[in-house]
Symmetry: C2
Subunit: 642 residues, 2 copies
């Protein structure tokens, strides 16, 4: 029997989706391109995908994430609710993912300019991975009967110093070259693509079109995908576009996605949805800037090792199995079309090289962006996302590690947590009298609390004495904001009268423990890495904070809770999305891309997962700021004074 189909009308967007009987409301929302917050990937564990049923019958599984009061209002979990009728469904504000809020700028201080692509002292020579060269060939004669392709190569060699034997080409060029040369009266533009030791003549066009040379740099994140459109001729960033990584529906972190892919034989699908996201970004950028897709000759992607594998269609299975191996660290340049990315038909795809299973091309890109590999000063790069990657070193050596911080700083596993989007509390302060002041993104009524807000929250909770250094609520404090529920104690950050969701925004005891575990993972990774090199935090001369999270993070709060070691704030620099910065630098200069390869092979991966010292550090770090508060003299001072 063929399954029936039903219509789901999603509110407030009024998008109607036709869906097969038995699929979930979450499935329907994806089909309608509506981003519902489903951090766990539809497992029913995160409880983020709450929607309100306005009409129609459903088949819903029981869940502890919906309170009795919410049941009355029609709340259901989209991922646990099967469609058996035509439905009208409201996606409440707190469950929506608002694409326009993704952090897209690279380095906010210098948006869009080439100056922004290098934070380090050394600028690379402009020398894009794919370049266009206008040539006026001398027409052949009986005395000069060199073949068409060799005639072209001769001129390329003279103009570029590329040795003849390193020039190669593809069949399409050879096929069309004779007609193009003759129709253009021997005046043509050659597109040259850097391919390791060779340079490929990717395309030959009639006339001078050397000014139409564009590329796209992409930060392929686990959560978001950010694309920068670059004018490779003028060395400028033209436009930026971002979207959520559609793989989110298969799991919030990449390990979940690998498992999903393994269990559902869905490696191809993982690639497809990611490529679709990238194609969508490129096509949006191209249309908005009235360009032709034909003029996009290169795409450079920086992503963690798993995203890089999915991107090119490689199986990342061994990444999660001891001894944790990628299939490949440095993927040779591919024809973009080979993986399904839509550019010029002969356009090339480059990926930033990975260091290992858990330190990917995004980190290599970051090191390139800040030129840590050229730094005189002993430097620490911390890129905080779902994972926290840490690089320690200078021009002489570099070690790196990755800590599985978990997604709590992205709002997952936290009752009122949400991603950094409009209405998220990003700064918060609790006074001695337990009054609460906060600031939301977009200055709208709050819908929840995002990573930087959670971190701030934890710090202010401890400073104000709401919790003690173990993270436990101080039951004796004099405020109505602390209340007991069936699930234990919770502290009200915003009353339902003032929120966008018309529900209280609270932090629960379990939330606090989750956050402490996350910060402990990052701290212990940093300290283990530093100590393993026989150093301590005082040896660090410069600390770079990267990642979407990093841009809004209150460093003082991060030290107070013991996520960052106790370092002088003057040594800390926010560097934004270094993943996309390094990708842009590579696109603008093949010398930079070559350096990225040298960086990846120079970095030593330090495994924490099987490190006893790390486990000890982690346990000690499960306090605020640490079991041994003497390691945080500034916090001793702060908590004494406050």
């Amino acid at each position: 029997m063929k399954n029936s189909h039903y219509k789901i009308n999603f509110l407030p967007s009024e998008v109607t989706v036709d869906i097969e009987e038995g699929k979930t409301i979450l499935d329907a929302s994806y089909k309608g391109d509506l981003f519902i917050n489903a951090l766990c990937g539809g497992d029913g564990t995160c409880g983020k995908c709450k929607v309100i049923l306005k009409s129609g019958k459903i088949d819903s599984m029981p869940t502890t994430h919906i309170s009795a009061a919410e049941v009355k209002q029609g709340y259901v979990l989209a991922c646990r609710t099967k469609v058996v009728d035509d439905l009208e469904v409201l996606i409440p504000e707190e469950s929506r993912l608002d694409k326009s809020q993704i952090l897209v700028s690279d380095y906010p201080q210098f948006p869009g300019s080439l100056a922004a692509v290098s934070l380090g002292a050394e600028q690379f020579k402009q020398n894009p991975l794919v370049s266009k060269l206008y040539l006026e060939l001398s027409p052949p004669s009986l005395d000069d009967s060199m073949a068409d392709y060799e005639r072209l190569c001769q001129d390329i060699m003279v103009k570029t110093d590329i040795p003849l034997e390193n020039l190669t080409t593809n069949f399409t060029v050879l096929k069309h070259l004779p007609a193009i040369l003759r129709n253009s009266k021997w005046k043509v533009t050659a597109t040259l693509g850097y391919r390791g030791p060779s340079v490929e003549v990717l395309e030959v066009q009639a006339g001078d079109v050397s000014a139409n040379n564009y590329g796209v740099a992409v930060d392929v994140g686990t959560t978001t995908v950010v694309a920068h459109l670059l004018d490779l001729c003028r060395a400028e960033t033209i436009d930026i576009e971002a979207t959520y990584n559609s793989q989110i529906k298969y799991g919030d972190d990449y390990i979940q996605r690998i498992i999903h892919a393994e269990q559902h034989d869905a490696m191809d699908i993982m690639q497809e949805v990611l490529i679709e996201d990238i194609n969508h970004l490129i096509s949006t950028l191209v249309k908005r800037n009235k360009l032709s897709i034909h003029d996009i000759g290169a795409v450079v992607c920086a992503g963690n090792t798993v995203m890089t594998h999915f991107l090119v269609g490689l199986d990342p299975t061994n990444i999660r199995k001891e001894p944790y191996l990628p299939s490949v660290s440095f993927i040779p340049s591919l024809r973009a079309a080979e993986v399904g990315i839509k550019t010029n038909n002969q356009g090339l795809l480059y990926t930033l090289p990975c260091v290992g299973a858990y330190v990917g091309g995004d980190i290599t890109s970051g090191v390139l962006a800040i030129r840590l590999d050229k730094a005189e000063a002993l430097s620490l790069l911390i890129d905080i996302g779902t994972n926290g990657e840490i690089v320690l070193g200078n021009k002489d050596w570099m070690v790196c590690c990755s800590a599985s911080a978990g997604p709590s700083f992205e709002g997952s596993g936290i009752s009122c947590g949400m991603r950094a989007a409009k209405g998220a509390i990003e700064k918060i302060n609790i006074t001695k009298n337990f009054d609460v002041n906060y600031k939301t993104i977009g200055d709208t009524p709050p819908s929840g609390i995002c990573g930087s807000g959670l971190l701030d929250c934890l710090a202010t909770l401890v400073r104000s004495g709401v919790i003690d250094r173990t993270g436990n609520f101080q039951k004796g404090i004099d405020t109505d904001r602390l209340r007991k529920t069936d699930n234990g104690y919770e502290f009200i950050l915003a009353d339902k009268s003032e929120t966008a969701t018309k529900k209280d925004i609270v932090i629960m005891q379990a939330d606090i423990q989750n956050l402490i575990r996350s910060k402990a993972a990052i701290y212990s990774a940093i300290s283990t890495l530093i100590e393993s090199m026989g150093m301590d935090i005082n040896n660090i001369e410069q600390l770079y904070l990267a990642g979407g999270f990093g841009n809004y993070l209150d460093v003082r709060s991060a030290i107070t809770i013991g996520m960052l070691p106790d370092i002088s704030i003057s040594k800390v620099q926010f560097v934004g999305n270094t993943s996309v910065i390094g990708a842009k630098m590579s696109l603008f200069s093949k010398d930079a891309y070559e350096v990225s390869r040298a960086i990846a092979s120079k970095m030593t991966y330090f495994d924490l997962m099987n490190n006893n010292k790390y486990m000890e550090e982690y346990i000690s770090a499960n306090f605020l700021p640490h079991t041994d508060i003497e390691k945080f003299p500034s916090v001793v001072e702060e908590l004494k004074v406050s």
Copy 2:
């Protein structure tokens, strides 16, 4: 209205072909894979495709090629006869092309061994274009977590000295590598393909299969395609197979084929039929030697510039238009599958580089084979086929040219001419008494006369006084063999009582003039080239004769008729099919392949088509041996004595 279809039963092979009404008998024969001699490509001009109609009605166009007597016997031209009925058609012996008779050996003195591949002093190191390398990788551990591909490359680098940055690979390898490494317990065989500055890891297989490494060297001739199967591991020629170039149906020489392709928009078809021939050869070789097509990793083709263009699917149109330009001289290595050649899926196709429009990869290959580029002695290489290509030089310089000899030495345009196949008269002598002695290929009754026989014939006709030095029959000689027909005088070489065709084998006045024009073209090219360098024939220390023709050619006869200049026979060396020899050398050693590129760029092309001196020389050479017989002292002596 849909056309009717008819059945043609071809005798004696009993092959039945189904064909549409209105197609010709020649079309039907191609459909049945029967090779009918049709040198003009079915234009009705060569008169070679005579067949005998045994039953059925036909629609035949008038032709002067069929005599009244032949009409009575049922003779028709296959190319001029349309099918309008079921037919029974006998292909007489003289019209058949016998595939088994194609010259396939390279250098008969040393068949099959690596020694045979280099005629020059210098042997190249065995270092095939595609090699297989057995590797026992150290399994990864937590302390050694290098990615799979980099682990492989590391070992390749150690074993081969190929720099890491020159190693590249393809997606298929990356995709399957993790599973292959683990299933094989890290013991694998890597196939490495030379691709200019890069080396591509073409394939990785489990276990040690490094001994299964085979390649095919192909001489892509205008008339025949010859393939040698090589064991690249043991550096041996295993087997040889040859076929006619199926493009023959579109014209006997390559200019005709270019015109056909232009007029019928049939460039693709030209490629298709050629690739089909090559695939057929490879598949026959593979089956006969019980190999797997999977083990064929490389194909090296040497052909003239037009064949090379057709092979890879490039338009050779500009080759026949002033200033006569190829699209490309050196084609970068391609995936064999890209052009449709069936090998290992990742197998590579290499072509020998061309010098110019009329001096192709077959000649570059020939220079490589005899190492003319390393010769101390001033040397002349003459490769005689439909075109005669000539190279003059030594280790310091090389010039080359091409003379359009026309196909008369391949039997075309000659009344009883045929290709060098079973039953062809290859040697002939006419005594003072006008008795005729001859030798046929295979020592069977004669069907016609092939190139070497025609050349011998011309020489013996002049020596015996049957013709004078202008080529005209001496009407007064006392023999019945000379007779007058409606088409002028002819000389009977073999009486119908002794021939396989039951018809007289004759040489006509027009035949002689055709042969004189052909030999004049070759001679004048040689002499113009030599004289343009300020030299004369006495400066030549070594003369190499290459090509299928060259193997059987009587040098004395060639000098007598003035095709070759008057040179001491001790300086002449037959070198066989140097085109395939050079291709084999390249396959066995990438150093040799690299040298071929250096050779092609070092050779200076000397254009004869617009050279006044050449035209003068050509006119002077339209005598036997030459207007100025003093240039041929040995012939003065010979004709005086004889």
